[in-house]
């Protein structure tokens, strides 16, 4: 089958696989292999029009390497500069890690189902994150800090494997100052660490929760999320008050490539933020 170029005008159908050019305005080093890349769409009009919601992601494209789905980690109230906190892990993210301010990337997005911020308005919220699972929840924290009185009690349980892997350490003070009860733990301490030691679900034993009117947002490794859900359910929090953000292989971000399927769900479309009650039959099924 031959595929040939024509001299036709612009496409009638907007091609959802076509990226836009974004410029890296600033790179902020977070840990040894995690940095936050602040991107702005090159086209001034597009940059001004860009909006996203907490929990959504962009497909970032490095020519010659490929695309990768990265959650937006910045404040929705300042959508022109789009923060992406990226761990250098696969070939694309390792390539991105070599870039500098002023360099460019392709960007498609935002995609995906956001955290249900409207639903938790006026309610209490427990935010639980593990490792690189905190960036997709940071826009939630920022939105709450902007409108703190819109929410009831807000708690953050966050953990990393080592103290050096904790993200956004400079912001904990501000979060605590904004009445976000923040409990931080590490799996393994070093001599610098004077805080909690242990895995994230253990932090549940340091807090008391009202089971009514409390929502739980979780993002982290699936094994961690499983035990966090277990602890939340043990405290009589309703299944449909628990939301989690899942990670799956994604090639398109628009529900067409099939890679991110989780049972009936396309994680890129109905997710990445999913209600636990909806995915319970599949969650934790081995290799599903």
């Amino acid at each position: 089958m031959s595929v040939t170029q024509t001299e036709n005008g612009p496409q009638a159908v907007l091609d959802p696989m076509l990226p836009r050019t974004a410029v890296i305005r600033e790179i902020q080093r977070e840990t040894e292999n995690v940095s936050t890349f602040w991107l702005e769409l090159e086209d001034a009009e597009a940059a001004a029009a860009y909006r996203f919601q907490p929990g959504q992601f962009n497909m970032l494209y490095l020519p010659g390497f490929g695309e990768v789905a990265i959650s937006i980690s910045s404040d929705v109230a300042e959508p022109r500069l789009i923060g992406h906190t990226i761990r250098s892990a696969g070939s694309v993210t390792r390539g991105i890690a070599r870039l500098q301010a002023g360099d460019k990337l392709g960007l498609r997005g935002p995609f995906g189902n956001p955290w249900p911020m409207e639903e938790v308005r006026g309610k209490s919220l427990l935010i639980v994150a593990g490792g690189i699972g905190l960036p997709p929840l940071r826009p939630v924290l920022m939105s709450i800090l902007r409108n703190r009185s819109d929410y009831g009690r807000v708690l953050l349980l966050y953990g990393a494997r080592k103290p050096g892997e904790l993200l956004y350490t400079g912001e904990y003070q501000r979060w605590r100052g904004g009445q976000i009860e923040s409990h931080i733990t590490v799996d393994r301490a070093d001599e610098s660490w004077t805080g909690q030691v242990g895995v994230v679900p253990q932090l549940f034993y340091r807090i008391r929760l009202e089971h009514e009117n409390t929502f739980v947002f979780i993002c982290g490794p699936e094994i961690m999320m499983r035990f966090v859900i277990y602890e939340a359910l043990a405290r009589r929090i309703a299944k449909d008050a628990i939301f989690l953000s899942l990670e799956r292989n994604m090639k398109c971000g628009i529900g067409l490539c099939g890679h991110c399927q989780f049972g009936p769900v396309f994680v890129c479309k109905q997710g990445p933020v999913l209600n636990y009650a909806a995915v319970e039959p599949f969650f934790g099924k081995e290799e599903f």
Partner: protein, 383 residues
Amino acid sequence: MSTPEFPRIEASVVVAKPALAQILKNLQGAGFTLVGPTRRDDAIQLEEISGVEDLPRGWTEEYGAGYYRLKKISDTVYFAYGPGPHSWKRFLYPSHQKLLTVKRNDGKWTFEPVEDRVPRYAFIGMRSCDVSAIGVLDRVFLGGDFRDPHYARRRASMFILTVWCTHAATTCFCASMKAGPQVQTGFDLAFTEMPDKFLVRVGSEVGAEMLAGTDWVPASAYILGQARKAHQQSEKEQKRQIRTDGLPKTLYDNLEHPRWEQVGRRCLSCGNCTLACPTCFCSTVEDTSNLNASECERTRVWDSCFTLDFSHVNGGNTRPATRARYRQWLTHKLASWIDQFGVSGCVGCGRCITWCPVGIDITEEAGALMEKPATSGAEGAAR
């Protein structure tokens, strides 16, 4: 003359067998590129054809689990083949589709969309299962928030000459999937091959126009009755079936059934079934670039949920075991597809049975779970 120039839509008419050549010529005259079955490499494959002489006249196929052979029969039969190794999806959803070109000059990036010249395809001799499959792909590529522009362009200008079945292959089970053997919509012309003539049902205005110069006559009640018998025969001949009532729930309730382990030990994880399947749509995107990456191309390529890479995320793969990958494929086809697109992903063409090198049979696997679903004990072992 009282006979109108063209039959009306939904009319049934009769044409002599040589009229097929005229119809194909009419299609070519109208600017269509003919695609149809042709005999090559001891198989009946779907290729661009130049006319009626390329059709596999006088050839049929024998099918089985992991078995396929050509067989010579009467030379007067044009359409004696069933679902071969190819499905038609490769013309609407090519295995390699260039998506865009990226150019980087002096720090200026441009993303150039692909505007490929799309042939107007006339698909000749498509079976009902495959007509149904295009209906399924329409929902996948055109039914959601994001439409695939490449599929949309190819789909918009196609012509379908379907052939209603009068016999079933041993691997056929379209009747149980309600996807054949004679689908009543989605075609321009529907042929039923009789010993000395074709009964033609008109599905569209373009279809009617393509009958120009064929000396068509309205079908008599006798011929319609004969055809009906032949159609019923093709349904009765189907030995395989999938019980679809309650199937999605049974599959979801049996994700830890020991049967997955058994089939996982047989499955080679080769992906043949997904490539032969007329509805499997998963793809990946590949980047190719020149040496300094100043010009890159992104190409969409068919992918398969049977590959290890398919589910790769940093830190591992979601489905390292073959058992899990087979379960993903089967539960997607028969259960989650319905949640996603409102229709089953299986049209009962039987290709995955024929082209499985170890002869794994989807009807057998689904049947095993329907007959002996796990008891509460297995559900308890789910954790």
